[in-house]
């Protein structure tokens, strides 16, 4: 594994203007979907991104690929800041940066055959490529993702969800990218199919030294596939740590609450577990709490959390946490 960071995200912010009040002439407020996120990603590494709906995990993934414009901050891909590049430059980089979406059927054009869908990136980037070469590459990629060559002329509706997701992965892989953003790639799949697709992603990663940003709300899947994990809440990083460090000793009260809430398929463990937990729902991202954004649902919040925004501090090697109380959170763990 190389040590030079492939991808460097620095203080990335994505704010969406939202009209508040007034039908035509109301004021705009910034919805801070991603608010000051920084991380590095190495070649061949998987970064898991977890958090609840509305925490900004999908927006983060899209901002990395410049599918949504960044409000401020830097996305450096191999030393080149994508936020400063023009369209053509970004298009060149997108050869190496790909995405797999959550809904396998909705992300495939229903009027294109599986073969055309997988070949489309080749047509875009190598218009001069001969038909026979393109077909050979498509067949080769289909075999790699576990689709039979005979399926090349079928339409998306003729495939099951798991197979559609394989087509989506083949389309992302055909240009031999270096990084794939996987936005909830297995959430829509059945349990028995989910494991197959996760295995496929891990195989491809090994074979092509791929980096993955694996966005998911499923903490168990993330534990399985990730090397490092980023925990988001209301657009901010709560905790960023090596996988085992995070799962064995989560420092942030939010991470602890998330983990406590995940049901374990073992009746004895699940029933012995102290439940709950967090009360209420996450606050509106249009009107986030002052100080620490998590304080309104946190059992350990005090006056300081209301006043002061916690910074990301290093708790141990490779384990960063943004909580004023991180030194005491392990004892008070839920």
């Amino acid at each position: 594994m190389m040590t030079q960071p492939f991808l460097q995200i620095r203080d990335l912010k994505v704010h969406f203007p939202v009209r508040t009040g007034g039908l035509f002439f109301g004021d705009y407020t910034a919805l801070k979907a991603v608010d000051g996120i920084s991380f590095d990603l190495k070649a061949g590494e998987t970064l898991g991104v977890v958090g609840e709906s509305g925490c900004g995990k999908s927006t983060l993934g899209r901002a990395v690929l410049q599918l949504v414009p960044a409000t401020s901050g830097a996305v450096s891909w191999l030393g080149c800041d994508l936020t400063q590049q023009d369209k053509n430059e970004i298009k060149k980089c997108r050869q190496e940066l790909q995405i797999v979406f959550q809904d396998p059927l909705a992300s495939l054009d229903p009027r294109m055959t599986a073969g055309d869908i997988i070949a489309e990136p080749l047509r875009n980037y190598f218009p001069a490529m001969s038909n026979s070469e393109r077909t050979a590459k498509v067949q080769d990629m289909m075999a790699k993702v576990g689709l039979l060559p005979g399926m090349v002329n079928r339409y998306p509706h003729e495939f099951s969800g798991g197979q559609c997701q394989r087509i989506g992965i083949a389309r992302a892989m055909i240009l031999k990218p270096k990084l794939i953003v996987c936005d909830e790639p297995v959430s829509a799949l059945d349990v028995s199919i989910r494991a197959q697709v996760i295995n496929l992603l891990m195989d491809l990663q090994k074979d092509f030294n791929l980096s993955l940003i694996f966005i998911s709300h499923d903490l168990a899947v993330v534990r399985h596939i990730s090397h490092r994990v980023l925990v988001l809440y209301l657009g901010k990083v709560m905790e960023l740590a090596e996988r085992e460090s995070l799962y064995r000793a989560p420092r942030h009260p939010y991470t602890q609450a998330l983990m406590a809430a995940v049901p374990i398929p073992d009746p004895d463990k699940e029933r012995a577990k102290k439940r709950v937990i967090l009360t209420g729902d996450p606050p509106s991202p249009l009107n986030p709490p002052s100080g620490c954004v998590f304080r309104t649902r946190c059992g350990q919040a005090n006056e300081r959390c209301v006043q002061e925004i916690p910074l990301l501090e290093t708790a141990s090697v490779g384990h960063e946490v943004s909580c004023h109380h991180w030194r005491n959170t392990l004892e008070n763990r839920i």
Binding site: E52, D218, H224, I264, P265, R275
Partner: protein
């Protein structure tokens, strides 16, 4: 006597491409006050079994067999007969709390309607009872919520409103169809807690339909595992999880990622795809994906056989405890 007793139920859908057998020869019983977990993947028939019990099958669907609710058969029953049971003695919580509430009706009116219709309550009385029920499912600022529309509530709150509505007439059975699938984990934990509380305090029988083995492990007393429209294994929750005797149950447990599992690398999988319900495999429907399959499995369908205290499985192979 079980409160809900399903016997040899078949559900067929007539489609343009032929008949789809969604539920095949399913027999299940739900005792008073127990929580029965129904586990299976999409298309396993877990929802349609209970949609039939609620008389909510799509227009092209047909049920045959027996569905005995408190002794009375609901298969082929009139709408009037269903209406005295449905929402009153047996109610349902759906997966998507947004689409199962009426968008243009205030929460208070939707709740009150249930009591006015089934109990003949006055509007004022119904509102008081609705408010009490919203408080019971821990909805903050319950009074204010009564005058809100569903879109003004978060997903978690909407699901609580659904549960409150299901509970209004103190039903004997609640059917919860993937009640937490659309919710975030922290909210899921809150909802599961409420369902647990309902079961313990009100002694309501709960049928918990889900694909999430973790949810079943926390709540269910007994579990039925379904595959391709059939029950393949039944047992108490402890033995299903610690000692699964059907290859499919075993496979499902093995390929479910667990939060408390530090292993990495290749995950255990069940090979292949779930079958097409229009063209079910011969013999045992699971045999093309089963690692224990023998020749007999392709020719002959194993019956659901009772082999121990409350346990049954449909498999020729005598899987012993691991």
């Amino acid at each position: 006597m079980p409160i809900l007793d399903i016997r040899n139920l078949n559900v067929r859908f007539a489609t343009q491409d032929g008949e789809v057998s969604a539920v095949n020869d399913v027999s299940l019983s739900v005792e008073k006050g127990e929580c029965l977990g129904i586990v299976g993947e999409s298309g396993s028939g877990k929802s349609q079994t209970f949609m039939a019990a609620m008389g909510l099958l799509a227009a092209n669907g047909r049920a045959n067999g027996e569905i005995l609710f408190d002794g009375a058969n609901l298969v082929g029953a009139s709408e009037d007969a269903f209406n005295t049971v449905r929402g009153n003695r047996m109610s349902m919580i759906f997966q998507d709390p947004m689409t199962s509430l009426t968008p243009h009706m205030k929460i208070g009116r939707q709740l009150a309607e249930v009591l006015v219709h089934h109990r003949g309550a006055s509007v004022v009385e119904a509102r008081i009872q609705s408010l009490a029920m919203l408080k019971r499912v821990q909805i903050p600022e319950a009074e204010r919520r009564l005058d809100m529309y569903p879109h003004e509530l978060s997903g978690g709150l909407r699901q609580r409103v659904m549960i409150a509505m299901a509970l209004l007439c103190s039903p004997e059975v609640i059917i919860a169809d993937e009640p937490t699938t659309a919710l975030d984990v922290t909210v899921q934990a809150q909802i599961l807690d409420i369902i647990h509380d309902v079961k313990e305090r009100l002694k309501t029988a709960v049928v918990l339909i889900t694909h999430d083995l973790g949810v079943v492990a926390g709540l269910a007393d007994r579990v039925a595992v379904m595959y391709a429209g059939r029950i393949v294994e039944v047992g108490d929750v402890g033995s299903i999880f610690s000692d699964p005797r059907h290859p499919y149950t075993k496979g499902l447990l093995a390929c479910t990622p667990r939060l408390d599992d530090a292993r990495q690398g290749i995950m255990t999988t069940i090979q292949g795809q779930p079958p097409n319900l229009q063209r079910l495999p011969s013999g045992c429907s699971f045999h093309p994906r089963c690692s224990y399959a023998a020749e007999r499995c392709a020719n002959e369908r194993p019956a659901l056989e009772i082999y121990g205290q409350g346990r049954a499985r449909a498999c020729f192979k005598d899987l012993k405890a691991a």
